[in-house]
Symmetry: none
Subunit: 213 residues, 2 copies
DNA sequence: AATTGACACGAACATCTGTTCGCACGTATA
DNA sequence: TATACGTGCGAACAGATGTTCGTGTCAATT
């Protein structure tokens, strides 16, 4: 069982890997045959079986492109690519997602599920400008990742737009009695109280990170 | 362009997504047809084209399972899985990498190259314990990602072990004259000066992030 | 009422693709 | 030398799969 892979099997394995990286779907037997200049599909089939026996791949019979790389799936499937759609600053509203065009020029970041939690939809990133969120230990240049939502649970940290003040801020949100309490992450600081009508929830804070160039 | 997806198209899109997550290769048109109970493959083809036009997927003509999810593919080879090998606190040294066993039980996080920069070797993560790094805007519970190195350039933020004080700290490092200046990120605070012999560089700070569970 | 456009249907077609089989070649073993 | 075994070859088969086309439905528009 500890038998070494043949030259050809090694070549096939790394071919499959790079093919998947490149196309995001596995190759057919004939793809492998052609690109590795193997004379017959049956040779490919034979060596694929060998690779399966040694647990490098898994094959799904009678299914086209039914090759799976063992031990690879966890890495590739759960990564989320998050677009950085603008910036967040005290004095300006958060960009409206519908107005933002996300194309291949948009800066993005890739994050795994450990960082993001389970719900992976509606995520977007904003670059922090200014020191206005320093009380939440968020610095100029940091990147905050938000999940777009217009309501939230008590105690969640959310990005809110204060209509009257014309101001964006990141605070813990508490709805109590008839008013809203916005609590800075820094417990030394005093909360803000305001009318519910004045508060527009823009999204929930999912993660913050700071690249040290 | 802002046209909404039809019910069927939404269903198809999310079916494709979960199929890929589950199998690690895309579905065929007939897979979609069968599982979504659509009467004809041409209907699937039609709606797949609609999805392509709106840039949710990319189709590769004439090849089986030639569906790619837009914004999902780049998720492949450039992701780095970083082990979280321990914790970092003021009063204890950083775990020595050689002593740490990284196995499948080790907690890890996956991050893309935008977050990590180009050099992707020798990275490891530590969970921050305590508030001792609050002056660097790093909170209890944050995760810091370091690159293991024992030297650094002036001005880089590094994790250092102070031999005499028996203390770990994250500071900007400056070698000047015959001494070392360790500058807190918070410019309000005073630097520490010490002998070069007293300073052991543990690694360079690459990124910090804070999951809001 | 007529027209148009989006969407759906069903069947047929042409490849694409995995599988199988008989045969051959070399090396190690008996 | 004979045998077994791992590996390679080429061809053929059968089913899987993407594509196309004529037709139909329905709601909005003219």
């Amino acid at each position: 069982m500890a038998k070494k892979l043949s030259k050809r099997q090694e070549a096939m394995l790394s071919y499959v890997e790079s093919f998947i990286d490149q196309h995001s779907y596995p190759p057919t037997i004939r793809d492998i045959q052609r690109d590795l200049e193997i004379s017959s599909t049956s040779v490919v089939d034979y060596n694929l079986n060998a690779l399966e026996q040694r647990n490098f791949i898994r094959r799904n019979r009678n299914i086209s492109r039914g090759i799976e790389l063992v031990g690879r799936e966890p890495v590739s499937s759960n990564i989320v690519r998050i677009p950085i759609v603008g910036q967040i600053a005290a004095g300006e509203p958060i960009p409206v997602l519908e107005d933002v065009t996300v194309d291949e020029n948009t800066e993005t970041i890739e994050l795994g599920p450990e960082v993001l939690g389970s719900r992976r939809e509606d995520l977007f990133g904003l670059r922090v400008r200014g020191m206005s969120m320093i009380d939440a230990l968020i610095n100029d240049g940091d990147i905050v990742v938000l999940r777009h939502q217009e309501t939230c649970e008590n105690g969640e940290t959310v990005a809110v737009w204060l209509r009257d003040e014309k101001e964006t801020t990141l605070k813990k949100f508490y709805f109590e009695d008839d008013r809203v309490r916005l609590q800075p992450a820094n417990s030394q600081m005093d909360p803000i109280f305001c009318e519910p009508e004045n508060v527009e929830i823009q999204g929930k804070l999912v993660t913050v990170f700071r690249p040290y160039a």
